[in-house]
C-alpha cells in the first residue's frame, strides 16, 4: 500500500468516477455515497502521503516500472504532498455544499467533480511535463463541465470564453513542450534540470523559447496580469461549489511554474515576475471595488490574492518563498470560502441574487452576514485569521530597503486597503441595507453550504494558529525548490539508461 501512495490520489477519483459513470447514471444517491467514500479515501491517502514525506523523504513512483526519463515518474515531496492534502480537504469540504445545493441541478456532477480532483492531484504529483499537459487537459475539460453545470446564458457565455482561451493555452503548452524536448531531449523535470546546464548556447534559444512560452501558459492558469482577464467572468458565474474548487486551479498554475522554472530550468528565483505581481494585486483590488456582484467580486479577490502570492514567490530565499507557499494555502481556503458565501447569498436572495445592491429582507441574513464578516476578514488579511498571518509572513520576508521590496510593500498594503473598502461596501449593501418590511419568501441557506463555509473558516483559523510549524514546513519545501539536488537524485537515481 505504502509503496503505491503517489499513484493512489489519482486512481481513487478516476476509478470511483468510472464506477459512477458505469452504474449510477440515474441514481444520485449512489453517486453521492460513492463520492463521499472517494473523498474519505482521498483524505486518508493524502494524510498518509503527507506523513510519508514529512521528514523530507522524496517518494518516486515509476509508472510501468520504466526508469526516468523514459517512463513517467510521479514525485511526492513535501510540497506536492501538502498540495495533495489541501486538495483532498477542500474536495471533501465542498462535497457538503454540493450535495445540498448543486448536484441535482444537472447531470454527472459527481463524476465531473472527481475527475476534477483527479486532474489536480495528477498535476501536483507528476514529475514529467508532458504528463503535466495531460493533467492540465483533464482539469480543463472537467472544469468546463463543472462550470456549465446547471446551465444559464451568462454561465455558458463566460464558460465558452474560458474554454477557448484555455484551449489556445493548451496548444501553446504543446508547442512549448515540443520546443523544450527538441532542445533538451527529455520530458522529465529532474532530467531537464540535469541537462539544462549542458545544452549548448546555440540550442538555448529553442530551449528558452519553449521555457518562456510554458511560463506564459502557467501564468495564464494562475491568472497573473496581463493574463488575468478570463477569471472573474468564468468563476464568478460558475456554480459556487465549482468556483470554490477552482480556487485551487490557479494555484496549480503557480505550483507548476515553481516546479518548472526553479527545478526544471534551474532559475534562481521568479524575481522577474515581481512587477507583474504588483499589477495583479492592483487589478484584483480595483476589480473588487468595481464588481457588480459577490461572485465576480470573489473572482477579483482571488486575483488580488494571486498578486500577494506572487510577491511572495518572487523571492530568491527559502524564507520568502516559504511565506508565499504558506499564503498559497490561505488564499485557497479564503477564495473557496468567498465563492461558497456568494453562492449561499445567491440562493437566499431570490430577487437580487448576489448583486451588490440593497434589497428586501431575506432569511438567514444575520447568519450569512456574520459569515461574510469573517470571510471578509480573511480576504482582506485582517487578524486573527490566516490572511493576516500570511500577509505578515510575506511582508516580513521582503527587504524594504531595496526598491522592489519597498514597492511590494506599498502594493500589498494598498491592495489591502482597497479590499477593505470594497468588501465593507459590498457587505453593507447586501447585509445591512435591507428594507425591514416584506421579507422575501425563501428558505434559509442550505445546511451543507453553511457547514462547508464554517469548516473553511475554521480552516483559516487553524492555519493561522499553526503558522509556526507550517511556515517552517514550507520553508523547507521552498529550500528543496531552490536546491533541487535531492529531488533530481531521487528521480534520476536508479538504473538510468544512457
Amino acid at each position: 500500500m505504502n509503496a503505491h501512495l503517489p499513484i493512489l490520489p489519482v486512481l481513487i477519483p478516476v476509478l470511483s468516477a468510472a464506477v459512477m459513470v458505469a452504474l449510477s447514471r440515474q441514481d444520485l444517491v449512489l453517486a453521492r455515497v460513492l463520492s463521499f467514500i472517494a473523498a474519505a479515501a482521498q483524505l486518508v491517502v493524502a494524510l498518509l502521503l503527507f506523513a510519508a514525506t514529512g521528514e523530507g523523504e522524496i517518494l518516486v513512483y515509476r509508472l510501468g516500472d520504466w526508469p526516468a526519463p523514459y517512463g513517467i515518474a510521479l514525485v511526492a515531496d513535501r510540497l506536492s504532498a501538502a498540495m495533495v492534502l489541501l486538495t483532498a480537504i477542500l474536495g471533501a469540504v465542498l462535497l457538503l455544499h454540493a450535495v445540498c445545493a448543486w448536484d441535482r441541478r444537472g447531470r454527472h456532477f459527481h463524476p465531473l467533480f472527481q475527475f476534477q480532483l483527479m486532474g489536480i492531484y495528477g498535476a501536483f504529483l507528476t514529475g514529467d511535463f508532458f504528463n503535466l499537459f495531460v493533467f492540465f487537459e483533464v482539469m480543463l475539460i472537467a472544469s468546463y463541465g463543472l462550470m456549465v453545470h446547471g446551465g444559464g446564458a451568462a454561465r455558458l457565455t463566460n464558460a465558452l470564453q474560458y474554454m477557448v482561451v484555455n484551449l489556445i493555452a493548451s496548444s501553446l503548452f504543446l508547442f512549448a513542450v515540443a520546443l523544450i524536448y527538441n532542445a533538451a531531449g527529455t520530458l522529465n523535470f529532474a532530467d531537464l534540470a540535469q541537462r539544462v546546464p549542458t545544452i549548448p548556447s546555440s540550442d538555448r534559444g529553442i530551449l528558452m523559447a519553449g521555457g518562456t512560452l510554458l511560463c506564459v501558459v502557467f501564468l495564464l492558469k494562475a491568472a497573473v496580469v496581463p493574463l488575468q482577464f478570463w477569471l472573474p467572468g468564468a468563476y464568478g458565474h460558475a456554480p459556487g461549489v465549482a468556483a470554490a474548487l477552482f480556487a485551487l486551479l490557479s494555484k496549480v498554475g503557480a505550483y507548476a511554474l515553481l516546479r518548472f522554472a526553479l527545478v526544471g530550468l534551474g532559475w534562481s528565483s521568479l524575481a522577474a515576475l515581481e512587477p507583474l505581481a504588483w499589477l495583479t494585486l492592483l487589478a484584483g483590488a480595483l476589480g473588487v471595488l468595481a464588481a457588480p456582484s459577490l461572485g465576480v467580486l470573489a473572482g477579483f479577490a482571488s486575483i488580488s490574492s494571486i498578486g500577494v502570492l506572487f510577491v511572495g514567490l518572487a523571492g530568491a530565499d527559502a524564507a520568502r518563498l516559504g511565506a508565499g507557499l504558506y499564503y498559497l494555502v490561505h488564499s485557497t481556503l479564503a477564495g473557496a470560502a468567498l465563492f461558497v458565501l456568494a453562492d449561499l447569498v445567491r440562493s437566499v436572495r431570490r430577487e437580487e441574487g448576489d448583486a451588490l445592491v440593497g434589497g428586501r429582507e431575506f432569511s438567514g441574513r444575520a447568519l450569512l452576514g456574520g459569515l461574510f464578516f469573517l470571510v471578509a476578514i480573511v480576504t482582506v488579511g485582517l487578524p486573527p485569521l490566516s490572511g493576516f498571518v500570511g500577509k505578515l509572513a510575506v511582508l516580513r520576508n521582503i527587504p524594504v530597503t531595496v526598491i522592489e521590496g519597498a514597492a511590494s510593500w506599498v502594493f500589498v498594503l494598498m491592495a489591502s486597503f482597497l479590499l477593505l473598502l470594497g468588501l465593507s461596501r459590498a457587505g453593507s449593501r447586501v447585509f445591512w441595507k435591507t428594507q425591514k418590511d416584506g421579507g422575501q419568501a425563501s428558505h434559509g441557506p442550505a445546511a451543507g453550504g453553511v457547514a462547508a463555509l464554517a469548516l473553511l473558516l475554521a480552516g483559516t483559523l487553524v492555519w493561522a494558529l499553526v503558522a509556526g510549524p507550517a511556515l517552517a514546513y514550507f520553508t523547507q519545501a521552498a529550500q528543496a525548490l531552490l536546491e533541487p539536488g535531492a529531488y533530481v537524485q531521487a528521480v534520476m537515481g536508479a538504473g538510468v539508461y544512457r
Partner: protein
Amino acid sequence: MSASAIVALPLLGAILPPLFARAGRTPALLAALAPSVVALLLLWGQAASVFSGVPEEVRVPWVPALGLEWALRIDGLGFFFASLILAIGILIFIYSRGYLAGNEPIGTFYAYLLLFQGAMLGVVLADNLLLLPVFWELTSLSSFLLIGFWCHLPDGRRGARLALAITGAGGLALLAGLILLGEVAGTYRLSELAARQELILASPLAPAILTLILLGAFTKSAQFPFHFWLPHAMAAPTPVSAYLHSATMVKAGLYLLARVWPVFGQTDAWVVWVTGIGAATMLLGATIALFKDDLKALLAYSTVSHLGLVTMLLGLGTPTAVFAAMLHVLMHATFKAALFMNTGIVDHETGLRDLRRLSGLAKVMPLTAGLGTLAALSMAGVPPLNGFVSKEAMLVEVLAARWGGGWPLWGLVGLAAILSAAYAFRYFSALFFGPLRLPEGRIPHDPPALLWGPPLVLVVAVVVLGLWPSLAEPLLAAASAAAVGAHAPWPELALWHGFGAPLVVSAVAFVIGAAMVWHYRALSGRVLAWALPFDGRRAFFSAQEWLVRGAHRLIARVHSGVLGRYVLLLAVVSLAALALGWGMGEGWRPQRAPTPMNGLGLIFAGVGLAAIGLVVRWHHKRLRAVLLTGAVGLVVSLAFLHASAPDLALTQISVEAVTTVLLLLMLFFLPQHDTEPVAKPRGAAAASILIGSVVGLLAWVMMRNDGPNLADYFWSRSVSEGGGSNVVNVILVDFRGYDTFGEITVLGIAALVIYALLQGMQEGVAREHLHAWRFPFALSPTRHPLPFAVTARVMLPFLLMAVFYIFFRGHNAPGGGFIAALLLALAFLIQYMASGLSWTMHRMRLDAHVWIGTGLLVAGATGMAAMGLGAPFLRSAHGEVHIPGIGPVPLASAMGFDLGVLLTVFGAVTLALVQLAHLGQLAGFLPSRTPMDPARPKPSEKEG
C-alpha cells in the same frame, strides 16, 4: 497566566450573552458582566507585582520565524489602561441593559462589546510588536460592528464604513511601522525597545517608522486631519459612544504614543509633529464642539479636542508631561463617559438630543440634570472637580515646555481652554436650565436606576478625584514610569496649588467662556455664516465613489468580455515570450539537411493551402467551412503517410471522419443562414498570418535541429521489454501508458460534458425552443434510401472484423485501441445515418455511459493488476500463449489496457452522437420515430 486569562475571558466570554439572552435581558447582562468582573479581579490581583515593578509576563511562541508570539505583560501602563477598560466596561454593560429597547438583540450587542473589550485589553497588554496590531485591528472590527449596530439607518452604515476605512488604513500603516521597528531593533518585544533606542534612531528607516506609527496612532485617536470619522461614529448606540469612542478605543492611539515614547519621545520630529498635531486637533475640536447643537456631536468634537490635548502632552517630550497626559486620560474617561451616558438618558427619555429643541430639563429630570451638570463642569475644568486637576497639570506642563518657548503654545492652549469652558457651560445651561421645552407628547422623567446608576458612579469619581486627586497618584506614577521607562519625580497632585499663571488662565477662560454662552446666539450666527463647513464624510465617500467609478471604467475596458481581444492579447504575450526566450540563445544554425521536396509533396502542400484559403474565404458559410476543414485534415493525414508515420495517418483520418460527421450534425442546430463575415478582415488576417508564420517557423527550426532525444531507448526496448514491434503503440500503451490513461479520461469527460449540456437543453426554456423550431427547407421524402440501408447493414460485420483486426495487430503494426474505437464508432454511425436513431439504438443495448465507465475501469484494472503483484501501476507483462491448433500467439498485458482505451473512446464518441441525435428527435426533424426496416411490409410513408 492571569494575563492570558484577562484577555481571553472577554473574547471567549463573548459567546455567552447571545445564549443567555434567550432567557431574558437580565441573564444576558449577567453573562456579559461575569467575564469582565472576573477579569477585573484577576487584573487587580496583579496590583502587587505591578507596583513593585516586576510585571507578570506570559510568552507562548506562535510563529517564531516571524517574531510573532503570544506575549502579554502587565506593567504599570498596561495595568492603568486595562483597569479603565474593564471598570468602565462594567458600568457600560449595566447601562446598556437599561438603554437598549426590548426588541433589540441585546445578546449580540453584549457579544460585540465583549469582543471589543478583549481586543482592547490585548492592545494594552501585548508585549509583542506584531501581536499588538492583531488586537488593534480587532478593536477596529468590533467598532465597525458596533457603529453599524443599527444597520437599518444609513448613518449607521456609512459611519461604520468610514470609521473602519480610516482606522483600518491607519492599522495597515501601523503594521508596516511595527514590522520595520522590530526589524531595525532586532527584537519584537515592546519591553525591550527602550534599551535599543540608539540602534533604532540610528537606522535610516527611523523617520519612516515614526511616520507610519504616528499614522496609526493619529487615525485611531482621531487626530487632525483624520478626526472626521469620530463624530460620524456617533451613529452607534450611546453606550458604544461612551465606551469605545470616548473612554477607551480612541485612547489606543494615545496608549501607543506612550508606549513608543521611550524610543522616539524626545526626538525633534516627535516633538514637532506630535505636539503640533495634538494642539491643532485640540483647538479644532473645541471650536467645532461649541457650534454643535446635537448633544452627541458636541461631545464627539469635545472628545476630539481632549484627545488632541493628551496627544500634545505626549509630544512635549518631558516625563512629567507624560504624567499629566495619563492624568488627563483618567479624568477625561470619567467625566466624558458620564456625559455620554447623560446624553443617552436625555435621548432615551425625550427622543431628542438637539439643543435647539430642548431646554429646562432640570424641572422634570432633576437627577439627570444634576449629574450632567457636575460632569460638564468637570469638563470645563471647574474646581473642585477632577477636570480642573488635570487641566492645571496640563497648563503647568505647557508652560514648562521647551518647544516654542512655551508661549505660542500657551496661547493656543488658553484659547482651547476658553472654548472648552464655553461648550461645557453651554451643554448644561442650555439643556437643563431656562424655560422648559420638550417635544410634543413626551413627558420625560428621571430614568430607572439602571440608567442613572452607572453615571452616578462616574460622577462620584469625578468629585472624589477632584477633591483628593492624590488617590490616583500611585496608579498614574506606575503608568508613567512604565511609559517613560524610568521613575521621575512626578508632580504632586493636589486640588489647590496656590495662585499662579494656570489659575489665571482658568479664571479668564471661565469668564470668557461664560460670556460666549451668554451671547451664544449672536456669536453662533456670525461664526456659522463665516465658517466653511468641511464635511469629511462626504469628502471621503465622494472620493470613494470616484475611485469606484474609475475602477469600473478601467475594469470594463480590460475585462471587456470580447473574446477576440482576449485571444489577441494572449497571442501578443506569447509572441513576446517566444522572442524573449529565443533571444537568450545565440548562434543557432540548421543542423539537419532538409528532406528534398518531391512532386507529391508539392501537390499535398498545394491542396492543403488551397483548402485553407477557401476556409478563410468562406469562414462565414458554416457547411463549406466544416467540409473544407475536413479536407485539410485529410491532406495532413496523407502527409503523415508520406512521412512514414502510418499510425499517425490512421489516427488522423479516423479522427477527421468522426469529427466532421459530428460537426455536420451540430450544424443542424445552428441558424441555417450564414453568419456575418469578420468585420475587420485585414487586422484579423495580419494577426493570423503572423501567428501562423511564427508557428511554422518554430516547426521548421525544430525539424532542422538535431538535438538529443529518447527515441533510441524506445527502439531498443520496444520488442524486448514492451513485447511489441509497433513502437508508437508500445509508447502509447506501455512506456507512456499513463499519459494515454489521462487522455482517454479527457475524452470520457468530454463526452459526459456534452451529454450534460445537451441534456440540459432538453429541459426548460430550451426544450420549448426546440419544439417550436421548424426546419426551414423541404425535406427529402426518402431519408433512408433502401440501397444505403441495405449496404450499410451488409457492411457492418466486415467493419467489425476490420475493428478486431486493427485492434489486435496494434501492438506490432499500425493500429491499436484508439483507431479501432473510432472505426467502430464509424461503423455504428453509418448504421445511424442509414437507418435512423431508433433502429440503431434498439440494437445497441448498452448505454454509452457504460462503455465509458467500463473502459476506464478495464484500463485502470489492467494497470492495477501489476500493483497486486508488487509492481508499479501499468507495469506490463508479455509472453506467448500457446493456443492448440493455432500455435504460439504473442500476447501482452498492454492489450488489456488498449481494450480499455477502445471501450472508452468508443463510448465517448457514441455518447456524443446519440445525444445529438436525441436533440434532433426532440426538434421533430430526425426521421427515425418509426424504425425504418426494409424487412417490414410497409416502408415508412408517414415519415415525410
